[in-house]
Subunit: 479 residues, 2 copies
Amino acid sequence: MAEQKKMVEAITSMDVDFSQWYTDIVRKAELMDYTSVKGCMITAPYGYAIWENIQHILDAEFKKAGVQNVYMPLFIPESLLQKEKDHVAGFAPEVAWVTQGGEEKLTERLCVRPTSETLFCEYFKKIINSYRDLPKIYNQWCSVVRWEKTTRPFLRTSEFLWQEGHTMHETAEEAEEETMRMLNIYHDFYTNVLAIPAVVGRKTEKEKFAGAEATYTIEPMMHNGVALQGGTSHFFGDGFARQFGITYTGRDNTQKNPFQTSWGVSWRMIGAIIMVHGDNDGLRLPPKIAPIQVAVVPIAQHKPGVLDKAREMTDRLSKTWRVKLDDSDKQPGWKFSQYEMQGVPLRMELGPKDIEKNQCVLVRRDTREKIVVSLDEVESKIEELFGLIQENMYQSALQNLESKTFTATTLDEFLDIAKNKPGFIKAMWCGDSACEDKIKDMTGGVKSRCIPFKEEKLSDVCVCCGKPAKHMLYWGRQY
Amino acid sequence: MAEQKKMVEAITSMDVDFSQWYTDIVRKAELMDYTSVKGCMITAPYGYAIWENIQHILDAEFKKAGVQNVYMPLFIPESLLQKEKDHVAGFAPEVAWVTQGGEEKLTERLCVRPTSETLFCEYFKKIINSYRDLPKIYNQWCSVVRWEKTTRPFLRTSEFLWQEGHTMHETAEEAEEETMRMLNIYHDFYTNVLAIPAVVGRKTEKEKFAGAEATYTIEPMMHNGVALQGGTSHFFGDGFARQFGITYTGRDNTQKNPFQTSWGVSWRMIGAIIMVHGDNDGLRLPPKIAPIQVAVVPIAQHKPGVLDKAREMTDRLSKTWRVKLDDSDKQPGWKFSQYEMQGVPLRMELGPKDIEKNQCVLVRRDTREKIVVSLDEVESKIEELFGLIQENMYQSALQNLESKTFTATTLDEFLDIAKNKPGFIKAMWCGDSACEDKIKDMTGGVKSRCIPFKEEKLSDVCVCCGKPAKHMLYWGRQY
């Protein structure tokens, strides 16, 4: 092991400096690179391949749910952005403004979209006339821009890749159902594809999206106990529709405003994968989104027959999985470390003795377990191992989340946990945002995550002010 | 027929006003919509689905050719854009400038990428150190912005969707091979997927890309004889590499500059599909990229068993193709016209009598031919028809291209054709751009399309100046 480690540049230990460990991984696993453009990053081939796999799976789920993809302009005229006042107040401080086009100074500034509710509303106004035109269930995959002061790869960048869904419905009930349907698609994706458990629930008034009536959220916990807002789904009521004058003729022949939702996830999911699953040897990728699912490493590849067999196995496995044969002249130990750094779920080692015995060695990235497998049964074994890896990664992450979730029934207890135990805090709350402000101040940054769908009754009173409690809240620091 | 026509809004005839016909189709086939953002458009679900099908097929071809996808920032700092002087001179007059980020006035303007050579070069400089790092074969799917004065959906818009490939190689020969490999992928895609024939060749010095040593181009002809630059592939030599200081240690241990290419196609391809294949009843889509490949229209759908059978057939065919069942309460005639407008390659009509006879009627969009088919053989028949449709669409377009390609050996002849016969003109050329300028002036806009890969010798002298001819050129007006 010591021998092997020398062959790769070490990364900072996550216990020493979690933030540096994260940065080391995104660079050494070749996920991204920096640019001279403030707050923007290059998504390198390996990182982009993860994003493509995420897109591919999610987009298929969207389409099954009746979502149609569209593409809206990159720019929003200032006057259009200003049509919904809560919305503009939320976004205006962090948008990039185009003031010049070619040689010409623009008469009206255009902002580079930070999100596209306003553009979709303008479009909906044109195309929705009758209840027969509803619902509209649209989505776009694109980049958006929010001018950030401090940035961190995949978590907070001035430009980021995401998808934004925007829908319009006849009734509030139908729109609320849509809001939940999409949240559930996200939640299933986190659970079954990314192997990431999360707390799900509703944001408080203070934390909800600018202009929304309700925001629902997925909140996974990172390895260090810090929360990441992993995806949100918003119910807008008919607020935007009224501001934009979107009406339709109802079944009763009267004019009505339709009800709206929006929902989105971004490449922050890649940040979540790193911080939930990564370890001190690098990334660990869930099999379904790994760009390389099996890395084939020939041992003593100069010996006759080894490379031929490795190529044969690569071709065989490539029918089902994403497989990479590494026949470069680097040492096997270097290759092992490299594919561990890149989080490849399974490594196949194949040497002269293995070939003689018609077998190979499969090595799990998640547990390091080595399994000798007959080449006749390798496909079914890989299939089985991917199932076990997926389950093991999920259970490890769940164990982390559960072991770092604490309960506080008094303010002292709350402050003590907030100071000494990184993680989520469950506590009762009166419903007043003043208590959220107070706790954030006293703890130096602990905020409400959400009112979970499954509330427990921990006590009768708000942990902060002692008034009667209305809800249980999850609290935590966030990225 | 007359009865049926009344049910859909008529579009302008292409013979009366080709430009209005085009605009009518993009609107009535629901490909796009206008916005309040100058020069930008909304890509509606049906239009975006065509783009997704194009992306899907092309991206798979790219990946087979070893291309890796990445994502670069949307913004380019002004100083970075200015590093290559021909390049900046070509693009600076038509870029959008961001001058403000959030509350802060930027110290350096950022342009919204019009193309990303400069960003890729900055990246290549960081990651290329040795010949072992070459080649780099990268691509991104994104939108770019070029501030256009007059715009037209899919053909010329201030923001457009495209892909841009950027590669670096050890030798000029290898880079030239890459340039041609990608041009050939485009050409095959036009031929075999879009059913669009084209002239392929090299751009003249005057018409080549800003900063390139050579630009190769695909030039399909629209139904009205006007050319569309359908895709380009550029060889840069080591020009950008020198400007950006990109060097690598070669096999002989000396420092060298790598050789570069870039290549791109955009959603203009959708414009080409419309203008090559469309007719006075709307769009005609090649089967491989049609969002709906078969539209199932039940006849007398209120009669018992009709809808059940239509649903059964839809499920059966959906295993292989993209199929839409239209069981709305609109009249069959309206539905026929609608799917003709949207260019659906095959319509399946299914009524009580058909069901009784275990048959259906398939109607080809390209020829309007009606074919009665046993339901037992419908899959193999559809497969066969798609092959025939593809071939027929290609041959019709080829016939149009060939019948509108003229030869001129004298200037008078050239000017007469340019004035009276829309299409391409083949003529000999001395190699001097002054003759290109002169012909453009005299004809009010006829420009050189390319020096074709297969040149003919039409005469010994330049059609314009009478000096000895160096090349045969294709000429034509363009979108």
